[in-house]
C-alpha cells in the first residue's frame, strides 16, 4: 500500500471491537469478559491500577496474547486468530524497543522492508517519517546515541511507517523524565489528531489520560468500571472505584435516606446512577472542589495539612474522625495556617455515595499518595 500525506490525513482509522474477552493466567483472571467498542480515529485510553488487565487487553489486541474466549474485531473482521505480524498494528512499547543494531532510519524502514518495498522507497518514507517526528538530522544515529525521548519518537515513527490500522501505545512515556514526557504527550496527541488514526493508549497516569484521550476506559480486576470522556469521568464518576482512582476523593461516612444525605449538617441529594440504589450506612465521595471552607474560630474542622499546588492550595481538614481534602485559591490559602479552625460546606449540586464495604474493597494501590505539608 502506498504511503502518502493525503492518506495520512484522510482519517483512515479503523473501528475496533473487543467482545467479551477472557484471558486467565493460572488462577488469575486478567480479562474477565471485557467488551469495548472504539470508534474510527478515536483516542481511547485504558486506565487502571497495576494488574487491572489493561496491558493484557492491549497485548490481546496486538496479537501477543491468546484469548481463552472472546473476539477481537477490527473493521468487521475477526482478528482473534490472526498472527500479530499480520494484524497491521503499530505498537510503541514502554521500554525502548529500537533495534540496537540498526540506526534510526533503518529502524523506521524495518516494517517497510518486511512489506518488501524497494530500498529507495523505504529510505524516502523513513526519512519523511523521521522529519515528521523532528528527527531528520538523527537518521544515522544508533539507539545508544539517542536520548530516551528521541528513541520513543523514532519508535513512534517506526510504528506509523507501516500505516497501521490501529496504533497501540503501551505506556510509552513512563520511562521519560517529566519535562520530556509532557512535551511528547502533546506531540503524540497532535499527531494522532492530524492523522486521525485509531489509537489505544495504556497508562496508569491520570494526567496523561485526562489531557490526551477522547474517551477513557477505567479498568479494575479485568473488567470495565466506566467508559467516558475525561471530563465526564472526573465530574460524574460512575462508581466508587472510578471516583477514588480518577482524581482525588475524600470519603465521608453518611446515612442515606430518601435519596438524600446529610453532610456537615447540610442536606444534599445523591447522584443518580449506581448511587441511587444505596440505602443506609454509606460513604459520600467528595472531590476537593465539592467542598468550600470558611475560616471560623467556632468551626468543627481544623487544618492538619497544607500543600501548595501553584494556583491552588490543597488543605486537609480534620472533622471529628473524618479528614477531607479541600482546594482553595493559593492567594486565599496563604492566610490559612495549620490548626486554623474552619467551617466546611458542600457546594456540589449532588454527591456520589457508595456502600461502605464497597469502598473498603477498592484496590487503592495505584491511587496518588496523600498530599504532604509543603
Amino acid at each position: 500500500m502506498a504511503y502518502s500525506s493525503s492518506q495520512q490525513t484522510a482519517g483512515a482509522g479503523a473501528a475496533v471491537s473487543l467482545e467479551n474477552l477472557v484471558r486467565t493466567f493460572g488462577s488469575v483472571r486478567a480479562l474477565d469478559g471485557l467488551s469495548l467498542k472504539i470508534e474510527p480515529g478515536e483516542f481511547m485510553a485504558l486506565l487502571g491500577p497495576s494488574g487491572c488487565g489493561k496491558t493484557t487487553a492491549l497485548r490481546v489486541l496486538a496479537g501477543f496474547e491468546l484469548l481463552d474466549s472472546g473476539r477481537v474485531v477490527v473493521d468487521g473482521v475477526d482478528l482473534s486468530n490472526v498472527n500479530a505480524r499480520k494484524r497491521d498494528m503499530g505498537m510503541v512499547f514502554q521500554s525502548y524497543s529500537l533495534f540496537p543494531n540498526m540506526n534510526a532510519l533503518n529502524n523506521v524502514a524495518f516494517g517497510l522492508r518486511m512489506r518488501k518495498q524497494a530500498a529507495s522507497q523505504r529510505r524516502k518514507k523513513a526519512g519523511e517519517l523521521l522529519e515528521m517526528v523532528g528527527l531528520a538530522d538523527q537518521a544515522a544515529k544508533y539507539p545508544h546515541q539517542m536520548s530516551g525521548g528521541q528513541q520513543q519518537r523514532v519508535a513512534l515513527a517506526r510504528a506509523l511507517a507501516i500505516e497501521p490500522r490501529v496504533l497501540l501505545l503501551d505506556e510509552p512515556l513512563s520511562a521519560l523524565d517529566a519535562m520530556v514526557r509532557a512535551e511528547l504527550r502533546d506531540q503524540i496527541r497532535s499527531l494522532q489528531q492530524r492523522l486521525a488514526i485509531t489509537t489505544v493508549f495504556v497508562t496508569h497516569d491520570q494526567e496523561e489520560v485526562l489531557s490526551m484521550a477522547d474517551r477513557v476506559c477505567v479498568m479494575s480486576r479485568g473488567h470495565i468500571e466506566q467508559v467516558a470522556t475525561p471530563a465526564e469521568l472526573y465530574s460524574r464518576p460512575g462508581t466508587a472505584f472510578v471516583a477514588q482512582f480518577v482524581g482525588i476523593s475524600s470519603r465521608v461516612p453518611v446515612d442515606v435516606a430518601n435519596k438524600e444525605v446529610v453532610i456537615f449538617g447540610q442536606r444534599c441529594p445523591i447522584r443518580s446512577g449506581d448511587s441511587s440504589s444505596v440505602v443506609g450506612a454509606a460513604d459520600a465521595l467528595l472531590r476537593p472542589e465539592d467542598i468550600a471552607i470558611e475560616v471560623d474560630p467556632n468551626g468543627k474542622g481544623f487544618v492538619t495539612r497544607k500543600s501548595f499546588l501553584g494556583a491552588m492550595t490543597r488543605l486537609v481538614i480534620q472533622i471529628g474522625d473524618t479528614s477531607v481534602r479541600v482546594d482553595v485559591r493559593s492567594d486565599a490559602g496563604a492566610d490559612i495556617d495549620l490548626g486554623t479552625h474552619v467551617r466546611p460546606s458542600i457546594v456540589a449540586r449532588d454527591v456520589l455515595v457508595a456502600p461502605r464495604k464497597e469502598i473498603t474493597a477498592v484496590d487503592t494501590s495505584a491511587t496518588p499518595p496523600p498530599p504532604t505539608v509543603s
Partner: protein
C-alpha cells in the same frame, strides 16, 4: 510526505531533549586514580600464574638438543609424522561441533528466553551436568550403546563435544540474551511484520553476536584440548597426537605443538573479534550512507 505543520514538524523539540547521548572515551576523560599497591600485587601474581608456565613451555620449545636457542621444533612440526592428519581431523571435528552446537543451542536459548523464562533455572542446572559427569563415564556409556557405524565415525566425537561444550555455550548465549530486551525486540519485530526467521536473523543474532562468537571460540578451545574421549574412541586428534609423541626424543616438538595450539586459538579469537568489529563498522558506514 510534507511535514504536518506549515513550518516544520509537529514535533518542535526542545534543546534539552535533542541533546544526544555523549560518547565518552578514555581519551577525553582524565581520571585521577590512586594506584593501590595491593591491586598491583594481585595483578602481578595472577599474571605470573598464567605467564610462567607459558614462558617455560615456549622457552623449552625454542631449545635444540644442546639446549641452545632454535626454531628447530617449530620447523619440524609440520613434517612430524601424523601431525597434519591430527590437525585436519581436529579442525573437522571442531567445525562440525561448532555448527551443531550453534544450531541446537541458539534457538533453544532464544525460545527459553522468550517463551519459557521459567525454564531458565532448570536449564542452568541441566547444562552443568556435562561438567559434573566425568568425560570418561560419558564416552564409555556412548561406546557401549552406539552402533558400530556411529562408533567408526570421528563425528561421534562432535556429538560428544556438543554435550561437553553445552555449559559454556549455553551460559555465553544466556548472558548475551540477558543483556538485551529480547521479548520487546521480538514483539516489536513481529508487530512490524517480521516472522520468526527474520526476527532471529535480522534482530536477535546481530545483537548477540559477541556472545555467539564467545561460544564458538570456547567450543573450539574445548575440541582442541579434549583428550580422554578422543583417546578412548581411538581417534588421533591434536591432544592425542601430542600425548602419543615420543617425549624422550622429541620433547620440544611436543611442546611446540601445544604452544601452536594455544597461540592458534588466540590468533583465531583475535581474528574473529577483529572481523566482527570491521563488519560492524562496515554495516554502520553502509547504514549511515
Amino acid at each position: 510526505m510534507a511535514p504536518l505543520s506549515g513550518a516544520g514538524s509537529v514535533f518542535e523539540v526542545s534543546e534539552a531533549e535533542n541533546q544526544t547521548v555523549p560518547e565518552f572515551s578514555t581519551g577525553t576523560i582524565r581520571r585521577r586514580r590512586r594506584v593501590r599497591w595491593w591491586r598491583v600485587v594481585v595483578l602481578l601474581l595472577s599474571g605470573a600464574f598464567f605467564i610462567i608456565p607459558l614462558y617455560a613451555g615456549i622457552k623449552f620449545s625454542l631449545q635444540n638438543v644442546q639446549g641452545h636457542f632454535s626454531f628447530q621444533a617449530y620447523e619440524k612440526l609440520p613434517s612430524a609424522p601424523g601431525f597434519t592428519g591430527a590437525l585436519t581431523l581436529s579442525l573437522k571435528i571442531a567445525l562440525v561441533t561448532m555448527v551443531v552446537s550453534t544450531l541446537l543451542m541458539v534457538p533453544t536459548a532464544i525460545y527459553v528466553h522468550v517463551r519459557l523464562p521459567r525454564l531458565r533455572r532448570l536449564l542452568d542446572v541441566v547444562t552443568v551436568l556435562p561438567i559434573v559427569i566425568p568425560p570418561i563415564v560419558l564416552i564409555i556409556g556412548v561406546l557401549g550403546v552406539f552402533p558400530l557405524w556411529a562408533k567408526s565415525s570421528p563425528y561421534l566425537l562432535s556429538f560428544m563435544y556438543v554435550i561437553l561444550s553445552m555449559p559454556f555455550v549455553y551460559r555465553s548465549l544466556d548472558a548475551g540474551l540477558g543483556a538485551i530486551d529480547l521479548k520487546t525486540l521480538t514483539e516489536a519485530s513481529r508487530s512490524l511484520g517480521g516472522n520468526w526467521l527474520t526476527t532471529m536473523w535480522r534482530i536477535v543474532l546481530p545483537n548477540i553476536r559477541p556472545a555467539l562468537l564467545s561460544a564458538t571460540v570456547l567450543t573450539l578451545a574445548l575440541v582442541f584440548g579434549e583428550y580422554t574421549m578422543a583417546s578412548l574412541d581411538l581417534w588421533t586428534t591434536i591432544p592425542v597426537w601430542i600425548a602419543q609423541f615420543q617425549v624422550s626424543t622429541d620433547g620440544p616438538i611436543q611442546v611446540a605443538a601445544s604452544m601452536m595450539g594455544l597461540i592458534g586459538t588466540w590468533i583465531l579469537l583475535m581474528l574473529v573479534v577483529s572481523i566482527d568489529r570491521s563488519q560492524s563498522r562496515r554495516t554502520r558506514r553502509k547504514q549511515g550512507a
